[in-house]
Symmetry: C2
Subunit: 748 residues, 2 copies
Amino acid sequence: MRLFNTAIFSAAAMLLASAALAITPAEQAANEKALDAGISTAEQMAWLKQMTSAPNHVGSPHNRENAEFILAQFKAWGWDAKIETFDVLYPTPLRTALEITGANPVTLGGQEPGIPEDATSNQLAGALPPYVAFGADGDVTADVVYVNYGLPADYEALARRGISVKGKIALARYGAGWRGLKPKLAQEQGAVGALIYSDPAQDGYGTGESYPNGGARPDAGVQRGSVADMTLFPGDPLTPGYGAVKGAKRLDRRDAPTIMKIPTLPISYGDAMKIFKAMGGPLAPASFKGGLPFAYRLGGADAIKLRLMVESEWSLKPANNVIAMLKGKDRPDEWVVRGNHFDGWVFGAADPLSGEVALLSEAKALGALAKTGWRPSRTIVYASWDAEEPMLLGSTEWAEHHGKELQAKAIAYINTDGNGRGFLGAQGSHQLQRLVNQVAADVTDPQTGVSVLARQRARARVDAYEGSAPVADSTLVAAEAGGDMPIGALGSGSDYSAFIQHLGIPSLNIGFGGEGESAGSYHSIYDSYDHFVRFDDPGLAYGGALAKTTGRLVLRLADADTPALRFTDLAATVRGYLAEVRTLVSTRQRQDGKRAALIAAGSHKLAGDPTEPFAAPEAVSATPMIELAALENAVSRLETSARDYDAAFTAKGSTLAPAARARLNKTLLGIDQELLIPEGLPGRPWYKHALYAPGRFTGYGAKTLPGVREAIEERRFADANLYATRTAAALDRFSARLEAASAILGGK
Amino acid sequence: MRLFNTAIFSAAAMLLASAALAITPAEQAANEKALDAGISTAEQMAWLKQMTSAPNHVGSPHNRENAEFILAQFKAWGWDAKIETFDVLYPTPLRTALEITGANPVTLGGQEPGIPEDATSNQLAGALPPYVAFGADGDVTADVVYVNYGLPADYEALARRGISVKGKIALARYGAGWRGLKPKLAQEQGAVGALIYSDPAQDGYGTGESYPNGGARPDAGVQRGSVADMTLFPGDPLTPGYGAVKGAKRLDRRDAPTIMKIPTLPISYGDAMKIFKAMGGPLAPASFKGGLPFAYRLGGADAIKLRLMVESEWSLKPANNVIAMLKGKDRPDEWVVRGNHFDGWVFGAADPLSGEVALLSEAKALGALAKTGWRPSRTIVYASWDAEEPMLLGSTEWAEHHGKELQAKAIAYINTDGNGRGFLGAQGSHQLQRLVNQVAADVTDPQTGVSVLARQRARARVDAYEGSAPVADSTLVAAEAGGDMPIGALGSGSDYSAFIQHLGIPSLNIGFGGEGESAGSYHSIYDSYDHFVRFDDPGLAYGGALAKTTGRLVLRLADADTPALRFTDLAATVRGYLAEVRTLVSTRQRQDGKRAALIAAGSHKLAGDPTEPFAAPEAVSATPMIELAALENAVSRLETSARDYDAAFTAKGSTLAPAARARLNKTLLGIDQELLIPEGLPGRPWYKHALYAPGRFTGYGAKTLPGVREAIEERRFADANLYATRTAAALDRFSARLEAASAILGGK
């Protein structure tokens, strides 16, 4: 591993340092050198081995042990640390059954088998069997329909073939949309139960050699997970919007809207094959085909009866967040928050502990630095979250409980959730894009010796040119010109959700990936130390790189006189989102007319094979024009105010008098809360951010300008007009704050 | 089946009739009604059953019986018919062996197994085992390398991973390029043998249920075929360019350039799986992955030795073409030629006999019409070709032998080669595009009751709108506006090749497809009557539609005073080809520069996974500007002369005095021979057409403006400039002829 060389720290860091650091560039460089020196991948490996040595799901003995271990480490490193517990609803299976019934019943499901090459896979005492958290209890026996990914387009394709899941069990494959959408849409379609299997095309032999010969998912591997309706709100289903502390008012479980109504189980492709081979029905359309070695059929022919039974234990369980602080010497009431969760589905090596050990490395290095006399200018908060897997319970309850304090103090939240190998990935609030690029330029890729930014750029250029992966034009332009690599937008699926989307705290999610094979062990018993060090990140080389990356982000945010934000990046990104929304409207208008004409002409019938049952799609009302003028004006104002602020900050940001500095920082602190829409998004008021949200029909995947974009996609045109106005108002409030900040800097 | 209704025959036919028919529109309509009435799908089924009742490959007893049967039918129907025999080289296997050697050898290969559901599959006496014609004899034992489709890009991908087939056996899958390219490129790369297997993603369970439950290829199904180097020339390898008559000079077999140099066998995916599972090696890149249920590996690790042995019988065999004529009453020395072959690989139901029985239907109907007193204005020649499967032997030798007479007399050649179900497909000389569309408007689709043209248009519109298949802009525009549907360009793979590409006779290839499942039985023992009537074209409904389509093409060409050609369609098509070539040049120039920059920056290495062996591609010399001005001018002249001719023909074509008519027809007869480049295409002088050729690296797939386009693709820039000039000269000769024809019509 190469260490950071103070003699060649980048010009970008120099510029940043000279512009806004509370400390000199040389001090900053020395601190980052100390950070790097304090990070030991050997230590990460030892921590990872210990923390993954037993099942560590919420409420398990080893989960508690891990919390105590983390707490003890932080304390030993000089942090002010404690465990903060919330009492959250967390169902675990008492009994499950899955069986093809009949004269010769076939029993399916049950725990995944251990293998000799994976030590912990044979130590399953106390491990949970494959299940999904927050599916319903139930015992149903019915025919099966294969619904592909189980997303709206799949049900439309089935309807055009005259097939319904009403009264049947929906068999969906993982992929394309978030897990929880599959039982949710199945129950909306009238299914009485749901199964979700891991098709080998997605993360099995279609992607590489199966474990233990490679990292891909074996035939008996199953993906556990939560199916609580994250698109409504994450966190404890019984305490929406407030902390699940002792004595808090709790919904009756039957009234909790994020809990599913039908029993659901995840299964392996080995089990799915047995169901496919028995269930018959018409041939599936091309888009439904996965990697199994037969012609996929749709079922629904009443050829089999499948029994699906789930019975759970529904008591409250403790979510033990470990919260540690290093108090700021200058600005103790401005916080930089950094988090990763430590609960896993079974052993949780890749997800989440590979990220948690990076966080521990940073904490140890910062603790050591503090012992040399350094203290951060701002307060640094390191959070090790519990109960992320069931639906971000630990982080959400903590963020809800401390919401007012966080909104008053937190300048940023930096999340990781495990780690992989290869290329830096970053998503988040776009005024932090510049900072991420500056850090990426200063961290060395452990495999190639160039900066992680140089590898990102090379990948984008080669992908674009060789056609190996789609690359957005803006990304390619940046890669070609040596400009900043764009960061993505945040959807959901990890602990940043409450911070950015509910509280309006600027957030980042960071991780390496693209080369390891952790997808094949995801949420299974094979997500183990053995799998991780063989196939995901041998030697935890990227565990080291991650700690250096996130550690630098924390240090630079904590010690800058004024946080290094570049609002022109945010404005340009929002301009791009608005252009996408305009294109969406015009595309929909053209498509609506086209489809209506084709339906009127009977073209679908003529274009199809008359020997196969197939109905034309239903005609829809035409997409009208949406009133986007106010939003357009608001984006223009944002562009102007961002340009003025960035120019003024570049000119004056490093030379501000203390009183003006204090006023500037106060003006910027909480500025992202102006982007919250007080009423929240349509039908889901917990989500308030005007720019970013998890998609109602994508889940983890982000929707940007969500109030407007999703309303158009879902043909809620009144909502589209209303949220165009509300989004414009949010942007105008934000611009006004930015203009006030510029005035402090003496800018326009 | 709906019959043609004389009261509503289309306005297009009316226009055509009024412009150029030797007979009145009413007579023409009556003839077409009689054609339709004479076509019996029941009869087609009976002929098909009889002709597919035993193996009928070249030289087999039943092949001879089929020739005699066809001859007898034509004679009975009043045609002047005879068998015209050529003596062609046609190797058949004496012995083949395929074995994974070692202590426990695994025997592979051999004949495909019969199944109870398919009657003839259990009557294999005299059937040839799976083999490829014109592979070399040999006996090699070597390690195996999986080469994906075995095309140039695949060998580049292997080279970047440090893998070579030198001294090894190349295992290729069918698909992406023509069969014969696979052993050809393998031997060029130094392989000692080649295997070609049918991956289930291409025509097995990835496309539907396997036979006999569906029509897709079963695990033991094998695709036979020829691997003679068609891209050099088709026909008898020993008599290039002249007829293989008795006593003709013949090359020594060892000097015949189209015969492969390495032993090659086709195998089933059942056998391929056994090789894959044993051979090991590094993981294959994503583009190499097919539908088999494991992670594809590349082999080359010396984990196995495979023995591959082929020993053939190399004697000359008779190719018995059945040639039948109906002599023209007005213009006996102008011929309309129509053909389909009758030899199969085993039983040959779909390929070729489903097309041959349509041809027989037409011949019977035309014979019956002749007995009522009608005689065609021009001579009609119906050819039933033998020995097409080994490499277009029967048709090529006949066309070469009668080359001068055909160039003097043939106004068009209309080919079919089997038939399927669904949508009309047509490729050929673009001055015939209008005629094809007029006929398509007048033939009723048997499944939907609309015209086959209306179904084509509906399919293009729905595909383009719903994204179900790529649709060229020009096709969509035509479909939307009710314009003519474009016809494709002819590559090779069937009997039109000598006619269009060697002799310059305007040609068409016609067939229905898109809905049946004949791909799964292609060139296997399962291409049987049972398969065909269950899964390909039940009741031969489209056999009837094909006979009505091609019968109309023949009748309208034979009875028109002047053939109905529209040269503006040809000019517009060539203009499009030239635009593609210009885009190719600019794209290559951009790509060359891009690749050089990425190689110089070492980006490929940074973008790849350092744990996998991977070398950057090799830098290439930059693509220069190509001199296209003369070609551009020639296309402009063609556009003008075509526009003038079409206008003049529309104005005066129906009212020409007999002497002028004779001069016009003489001027048009053979006009396409002006499009021949006397020197032929670079490195393959047999192919002379300036506009259409089978691609050197696509095979069946056409390359247009081939002398220029392929030279640019293959970086032969001197050839590109030379053939731009030669192509321009050919177009200029063609335009001059067209201008002379316009003058006769009194046009500009």
